[in-house]
Amino acid sequence: MDNLLWIFVSAFLVNNFVLAYFLGLCPFFGVSNKLDTAVRLGLASTFVMLITALCSWLLNTYVLVNAPYLRLISFIVVIASTVQFVEMAIKKLSPVLFKALGIFLPLITTNCAILGLAIFATNRGYGLWEGLVFALGAGAGFTLALVLMAGIREEMQYNDTPALVKGTAITLLAAGILSLAFMGFAGLFSR
């Protein structure tokens, strides 16, 4: 239980996927200019991360035991096809949910946070529950970083940020400041 809490807090705050591991930077910079989009993308990513954790655990436990060299290829293929399948299922079962999250799902499969999650969970030898909690923490951390960044960028539209800094430069500097602020969480619940 202690361990699960730490895995969650570590992925959520201390070693935030975006701000400390640099995973999922593509959507973090690309899709974080609107708050509403950021929230939805975050939720959809969390959902995909949970599926990924399940898939990679199944693959590692039952399929790849004697063929570790196929890990990378099978992760990519399985994750991409599972997400596509889930996308179709959601479209059929819940059009509302699909409207909220669906358009992001294919975009997410190419996100390095997803593959990164599977690889980290494998390298650390996480079991099923640990993997799921890790995915939940990583997804929550990703959403948090995305939402904070979206808020900052929406606010910046009203400010007169110098032209020299605008665009990616200021986003990177803001991410650096956020990353600096997240250093305050170091050591949280580690004792």
Partner: protein, 340 residues
């Protein structure tokens, strides 16, 4: 100048109906910091003055460099001096002067200039400079010299004049701060000496009594919004009281939590910065309570002894969100606005 003034009023209009203009509030706060600085010279000697001046010079230099061609030179509004003062007062006595100078440069450069100057920055510049220094130089920034005692006001810590970019040569004697003692040795400093301030720590964080008095005066003069310190201190008190009642041997006394570390200083001077705090009264409460919760979280369960600086920076990052949820009428109808 004219433009700067206007911007602040526009941003602050929803609640600051009592006519606060930037220079007046800023001057008030600079005056309020003078007794704190004097007290720190009394406790830590002339070194502290050097550090404060060094940090201020760093900030003023950047402000001047990047704005010398502008007609409305923001140097005149004194905000760079205020940031430098605030930063200097949160640094340990005996910090090498080059580090203090670098802190001032980062505070103004990264905290203000790149965002487009005063009124546009989202993070508290002084604390940003301090977070940068703490991350870069964790040992120098946590070497808290003990108050000078009998050595006399004009004695200087040997580490103060360290060569730029070089390490502190001598092993200075580090007095553990009360929060360090609490976290790593489970010793609780008695609340009385915390209140007066004769303990190790950064200049600004030593005397809770003085800070309370100054905070009171500033609130009465309406230079700062009373809600933010109230929410911050109140939530820290309530939360730590709950933990204290659960296990009084493991968790410190709530008064200890209030009077130790940089909490008082942050509550009066850092959290109340009108540019980086929410616009509405409701937002101010959320902002303060959020800071209190993060402070207690980091102090009691985190790896670092003090968390109030990170709490302010993290809540600064949420201010756009807080403004959004606490001001529904000004921004249309919430989320629907952005729907496809």
């Amino acid at each position: 100048m004219e433009k700067q003034k206007q911007k602040l009023i526009v941003q602050a209009a929803p609640y600051l109906s009592h006519g606060i203009t930037a220079p007046k509030a800023m001057l008030d706060i600079i005056y309020a910091l003078i007794p704190v600085a004097l007290l720190s010279v009394w406790f830590f000697g002339i070194s502290s003055l050097w550090v404060i001046i060094s940090a201020t010079l760093g900030g003023v230099l950047v402000e001047w460099l990047f704005n010398r061609e502008r007609a409305d030179n923001p140097l005149k509004d004194g905000s760079a001096i205020l940031t430098g003062l605030l930063l200097g007062l949160t640094l340990p006595a005996g910090l090498p002067l080059w580090m203090a100078f670098l802190g001032g440069v980062v505070a103004i450069g990264l905290g203000k200039t790149v965002w487009g100057g005063l009124g546009n920055n989202l993070f508290n510049p002084a604390l940003l400079g301090r977070a940068f220094l703490l991350g870069n130089f964790p040992i120098a920034m946590t070497t808290w010299p003990a108050p000078i005692g009998d050595a006399g006001i004009f004695s200087v810590y040997p580490s103060t004049f360290t060569w730029p970019f070089m390490q502190v040569a001598t092993d200075s004697v580090s007095g553990a701060t009360p929060l360090n003692l609490m976290k790593f040795q489970h010793q609780f400093t008695d609340v009385g000496s915390l209140f007066i301030g004769n303990v190790s720590g950064s200049y600004g964080e030593t005397s809770a009594l003085l800070l309370l008095v100054i905070g009171g005066v500033l609130i009465l003069r309406r230079s700062i919004d009373w809600r933010i310190p109230a929410a911050l201190l109140g939530s820290v008190f309530v939360l730590s009281l709950i933990f204290f009642m659960v296990d009084s041997r493991l968790y410190p006394n709530p008064f200890f939590m209030l009077f130790s570390g940089g909490l008082m200083f942050a509550a009066v001077f850092m959290a109340t910065d009108p540019v980086t705090s929410p616009l509405t009264p409701k937002g101010a409460w959320i902002f303060g309570i959020g800071m209190g919760a993060i402070t207690v979280l980091i102090r009691l369960f985190g790896g670092l002894p003090e968390g109030v600086m990170y709490a302010v920076l993290l809540m600064n990052a949420t201010v756009p969100l807080i403004d959004k949820i606490s001001q529904p009428r000004a921004f249309g109808h919430g989320l629907k606005k952005d729907g496809q």
